[in-house]
């Protein structure tokens, strides 16, 4: 009987890369041999199934399970490539009020028994779906772009993690990790973009990884593969693999994997834009 670590991937702001991060970390953990379940909490606007390439195989969803219309085992969709990776999809047809606190607690408690890691993909916002996704987490990954509104929203989410979660209510403190995504080293160097240190300073959350802006993320989503499975040598895949090792407790320095630039790209660096 396992006793899973429950990790919430959250950000407040939409479009910063929560779902990409959830899929990438969940598959990286599965590749390391752990039993992993990714849950999509974005009821009404599910997308984790699409990013993981499982959209054609979804039958039941989280709302069905919460309402007792299907068992968890019936609703779990096994990954095509990794047989120790599962997805619990969100419902597409209902709204976020379809989730109840007791229902979600029961689901998480049962999943803890089957898996080593349960990764909860939070919806954007600070409403019910987001608070339920973080409610039973043991750890949080906070995803931010190096951009002012994203950082501000993360700060708000950190406040909620320290107030509205089970750990916080029991007097504990939620361990948090900062994942900076869509990072552009060149623009940070020239001062056109917040640098990683700036974001870490402002949020006071230790850095778990920096994912560079990369065309590989879009390409992976096109074909429905988590970026850590689509091209292991791509910069974002390397960044997520590294972050996963840190999540597992390894103490390795944070690097920012870079795109290999062609000679042409190097010659014309800085001229474009």
């Amino acid at each position: 009987m396992s006793n899973a670590t429950v990790v919430v991937v959250t950000s407040g702001k939409g479009g910063v890369g929560k779902t990409t991060t959830t899929a990438a970390i969940a598959s990286a953990l599965a590749k390391e041999g752990y039993q992993v379940c990714a849950i999509d909490f974005d009821v009404g606007l599910r997308n984790l199934d699409l990013i993981m390439g499982a959209e054609r195989r979804v039958v039941f969803d989280l709302v069905n399970v919460v309402r007792g219309e299907a068992s968890i085992k019936q609703a779990l969709v096994r990954d095509k490539k990794l047989n120790n990776l599962y997805l619990l999809p969100a419902s597409q047809t209902r709204d976020k009020d379809a989730l109840t606190e007791e229902g979600v607690e029961a689901v998480i408690t049962e999943l803890r028994g089957y898996f080593d890691y349960v990764i909860c993909d939070s919806p954007a916002g600070i409403e019910r779906g987001a608070t339920l996704a973080m409610r039973h987490a043991d750890e949080a990954i906070i995803v931010s772009n190096p951009e002012v509104s994203s950082v501000r929203d993360c700060d708000r989410i950190i406040g909620l993690l320290d107030a509205k979660t089970k750990i916080a209510e029991d007097g504990g403190r939620m361990p948090k990790h900062l994942m900076i995504t869509r990072y552009d080293t060149d623009r940070a160097k020239t001062g056109d973009m917040l640098a990683t240190d700036d974001v870490v300073d402002i949020l006071s959350v230790p850095l778990i990884g920096v994912v560079p802006e990369s065309k590989d993320v879009l390409k992976a989503s096109n074909v429905g593969l988590p970026v850590t499975l689509s091209d292991e040598n791509s910069p974002p895949a390397k960044a997520y693999m590294e972050a996963t090792r840190r999540l597992l407790g390894e103490n390795i320095p944070v690097t920012i994997p870079e795109e290999k630039k062609s000679l042409f790209g190097k010659l014309f660096k800085g001229r474009a834009a």
Binding site: E55, R57, V59, T93
Partner: protein, 86 residues
Amino acid sequence: MNILSLFGKRGESASVAKNRLQILLAHERADDGSDAVLISSLREDILAVVAKRVEIDPDSVRLEMDRSGDVTTLGIDIELPAAKAS
């Protein structure tokens, strides 16, 4: 084979994306929850048939649906008990 493919893999993943979305959205626009109901009933029927011959744990039965294009397939995965069936 189109002429663009002569110049590397331009647009290859984008066309996969378009195809996936078309299939998905066609199903989602038509979805009235009947898939889930159908699967549930099929599961019960199949369980009843198999249970006539072997003792099975209802939890060890997996039904998987795969919708691709015009075809929907149903996969049934039943874990038989280690002991000899009657």
